[in-house]
Subunit: 470 residues, 3 copies
Amino acid sequence: MTILHPDRLFPPDPTTRGIAREIFSQIQNAPIISPHGHCDPAWFATNAHFSDPSELLIKPDHYVVRMLISQGLQFEDLGIVSLGGEATETDPREVWRKFARNYYLFSGTPTRLWMDYSFQEVFGLTQPLGVKTADLYYDHISERLTQDAYRPRALYERFGIEMLATTEGALDPLDHHRTLQQSGWDGVVITTYRPDEVTDPDNETFATNLDRFADITGCNLDTWAGYLDAHRKRRTDFRAAGAVATDHGVPSPLTADLNLADCIELYARVRGGQANAGDPALFRAQMLTEMARMSIDDRMTMQIHPGSHRNYNHDVFRRFGRDRGFDIPRKVNFIDGLAPLLNAVGNEPDLRIVVFTLDETTLSRELAPLTGAFPALYLGPSWWFLDAPDGIKRFREAVTETAGFYNTVGFNDDTRAFPSLPARHDMARRLDAAFLAERVADHRMSETEAHQIAYDLTVTLPRQTYRLID
Amino acid sequence: MTILHPDRLFPPDPTTRGIAREIFSQIQNAPIISPHGHCDPAWFATNAHFSDPSELLIKPDHYVVRMLISQGLQFEDLGIVSLGGEATETDPREVWRKFARNYYLFSGTPTRLWMDYSFQEVFGLTQPLGVKTADLYYDHISERLTQDAYRPRALYERFGIEMLATTEGALDPLDHHRTLQQSGWDGVVITTYRPDEVTDPDNETFATNLDRFADITGCNLDTWAGYLDAHRKRRTDFRAAGAVATDHGVPSPLTADLNLADCIELYARVRGGQANAGDPALFRAQMLTEMARMSIDDRMTMQIHPGSHRNYNHDVFRRFGRDRGFDIPRKVNFIDGLAPLLNAVGNEPDLRIVVFTLDETTLSRELAPLTGAFPALYLGPSWWFLDAPDGIKRFREAVTETAGFYNTVGFNDDTRAFPSLPARHDMARRLDAAFLAERVADHRMSETEAHQIAYDLTVTLPRQTYRLID
Amino acid sequence: MTILHPDRLFPPDPTTRGIAREIFSQIQNAPIISPHGHCDPAWFATNAHFSDPSELLIKPDHYVVRMLISQGLQFEDLGIVSLGGEATETDPREVWRKFARNYYLFSGTPTRLWMDYSFQEVFGLTQPLGVKTADLYYDHISERLTQDAYRPRALYERFGIEMLATTEGALDPLDHHRTLQQSGWDGVVITTYRPDEVTDPDNETFATNLDRFADITGCNLDTWAGYLDAHRKRRTDFRAAGAVATDHGVPSPLTADLNLADCIELYARVRGGQANAGDPALFRAQMLTEMARMSIDDRMTMQIHPGSHRNYNHDVFRRFGRDRGFDIPRKVNFIDGLAPLLNAVGNEPDLRIVVFTLDETTLSRELAPLTGAFPALYLGPSWWFLDAPDGIKRFREAVTETAGFYNTVGFNDDTRAFPSLPARHDMARRLDAAFLAERVADHRMSETEAHQIAYDLTVTLPRQTYRLID
């Protein structure tokens, strides 16, 4: 008995399905390259056992929590502790049972497919999860988590991972990555430079963040030049910890290219706590261009993730803090937003800027035309809220006719849910195979071409984009 | 000979079609639940015969009129009388002939499918409508309309309707509903509270509407508190006439949550005819939040229909009045618009707010993320301009991966075209079956799950959303 | 051996494919009607041989150039001479080799399909283009271009063209069209009036353009009345050179309907070089309405192409000039934009305004509702960036359920790449056949209807829209 069907996500037409199977068979066992994600480096540094199923699979996954909350469960029901420390469910088995009882809510969502894959392929379960199998699941997974084969490094190896990038803030000591480098383990777990907390004047602790930035780097944060030096210093540190990329989470894709005098004055205002209303946005905008310039120098790939309205639900934010499922996409304008950046550095042949979107209306109108023209610009894979079969299909349909395949960068799993990491790559490969098979079936391309493109999307493009084979 | 094919709207792949047929067979004969529509309660209260085919099927249907106008017919050709009373076609048979001659214009539109269903299933016609069959149709339908089996209550019963909600303004005397309640007929035809004419200061007769609102309710409309009391009074009246829901047609989804002092001042200005430029929009915005608060108290489901630019064609509006096919969708922003409302009441576990959109770009970017997170928010079915096979398919594809099925509310026919009411439910059920069948065929869900979801979309979710089974 | 499959672009399901084949067979050999394009009238006037393959097929095609640039090739690599005249590749064979080496980049794009069609059907090549066949291709095509059968008029005849419209600016002497009219050749190559350079005050040479406009027309350009007369004069000239349409490329669909006094003042400011910040946009907006009014008089079909951000890449514009692949779509708002125009002339039964969009979000929300209601408004085919199989499919899916087929106007190839002109019509006909076949296969329409609609889309609607059969 199995939960997963071997033909899942393939088109139903028998001819097309046959082509998809053939394409998939060529990439199914290719190594997993994960250049953008949010796993905790501590897992691999300490290689400790994961705790219980609820702690591992439910509580930290905002896709899961959000859906349960939307249907009337309380955070407390899920054992999530409020900032005020109010009473909450403390038995992880009870949390698991609530999840199992509501598992039908995930029908039609990617969470369902990723979870089922983890249950079957990672944990060896063969019956569907539901009210009747809740305890069986809880006991089975709990037992597995005590085995050495389920410790982080063993799973990394079992999953066939070639490299895994985590993401750390500019103030991170990088201790776990240092431990990893000195451990002798031959897994490749590297960091990514994410400086948002020291580039966003709207951050609640921006001033003290800059103070700590000064301490860590030894740079003079009183001047614009010193501030940029601090970034260069930290980029070098991250590079030494393996980083091949930077990542920038910004409310909008607004960029700027001010002259030096304006930069100096702007920095003085935001550093001195005397920012005008428009200064925080302008500072973030200018810093994207500065980061792009530094990427020309140190050859790190730059990733821009714009357009999330963070902590939209004030009450949930006040009671439970960040990342609780209430970050909501918003309309963005890449055409006006990216113009200063692209006119500054967009024609650089050796620069790689990867842009992502939560607003799929920008795909055919803005991002395919831009990435299909500018040498420095690439299009990141279908992201958050759009990282599922229909969303990914729409992404390729909206983009390919203008930008082709080679202005995209392959798949990013973008996940902190380590047990579902191979599930996400499996899904992406199946969807690539299905998309290509449809184009073979209607004779838009040959089967030979489709095989080559499938391999390039899985292996070649991630390696090239993040210079893993330079 | 038939007009309709039994497999219509099912996917062509034989395996998928087989699954769709199976799913559809389980819901095909389920009762029709119609919690949101615009039928005239007088039909059921008086149970009079409908008049001629043109009066019943053409003139009041703005989907039909609009298309004919767009291709150069005049309103006068269709027997629609101008406000100035100019000469117009007076022979309904001639109007019907013009419709028949232009019936090819509707190829590819839902009107065509709904009409054909009505012709075959309601009136028993078996040949396609066209120039040659125009008179045959006219005579046949005319004859049927004289039969008792074609009076409104008989059709209601024949259609298998479980409940039907009409929509009345806040100033409506609800006489027809009172008649219905006292009639002994066991059909369930209830009202819905639609207060737009007393919440929209841009309404041409707003001032006199408030005067009438005072008369009807006996409340003191000079104060904000009295104005809110008038709403409470009328909501109670509507509740007594069976209402389970309110409905709000607004130009944009803007909401507000002002403090009491600001509410009092704002109301004083709009009541006193001294509104500032931004006041009408702000007042509508505040009233959405007030209505949501009242819904917590009286447990009526709140429906928000934003984004229609009414009476876009000034000349047509001046000559023929409202609802003539020139209400055009416009871009909306739910993220900024709904924030005040959702931060006021969005986490209420027992509140039900159903939101609709005419702007499908908001589905994956805004509405699926919001309804897939907030406990109080639900997503209404694909509405006006998007209420057809391709639009409905895109709706489910854009929404399901983020919000699942259980943050949607099942189907609303939203129609004033009573003879096509079962056609619309038939179409919706076929499309649900097709959508689910595709997901069974590519193994995203099991056939068992698909059957359960199909039943829930058809029966369970409408009953739950509108508390028909509390 | 062939490059093209006879079933290309048809749906893979065997039943549906069979229907598509049948529909396509009825329109495959219909004459090509090309009422909107950018071919050079000199080709047909002089009927000279085309030069080499690179000059014909690569350098002038911004779809091709853009993609190669996006992947790091330089304009100089492609033999494109900068405005400064810097060193560049001068051997067209070397340019061709670079193109062949990078031909894989076009997988999944329409360029690939159009090119392959030209290679096989126009030039008789049978092996796929690639590194190994680059020289074979170059030699083969070069040889063909020396044959008389490959001169422009011979190709026109071979392609089965019924009429071909080129596009000329308001200041064009129309010499080539005059030559054509006097040549005795019975091909129908007509002009189109495109007055952008004399209606856009933001044009760099607007002032001198108006001076030349005065010279050419003999009108007094010092007054608004004289300026309008100059347009009337030139429209008459173009009409005499065969024009059936005007074309307007504008940054946004903004229109205006000012009173005469405001028009006189606005014109005085833009003519006198004293325009305010908002004047250029307002003048363009007013001129769209003026052009529509003139179209009522002279019965030319009006085409509006809004929403391209021209010359987005400043460096490329400075070095290589216009039309180098960096015109990028931008968000547009037809609802607010077109309201003044439509309220002025939208109800005119005999006026034909065809509107195009680069922003596909406007299709279901704005353009289908508008064209499905206003008698004067029609929807142009899926344009630039959306002129490929998936884009065209989305276009029909977004539009048809609201506007039907008969508020659209058939296909425009919109191309300056003459050898691929039949490829584009072939693609459009296949996609129409596929779209209709899907609707026959799921019983939304009968096969008879689908055949009629296919013919109307291919032949009837272009003839009607551009009054080719008046």
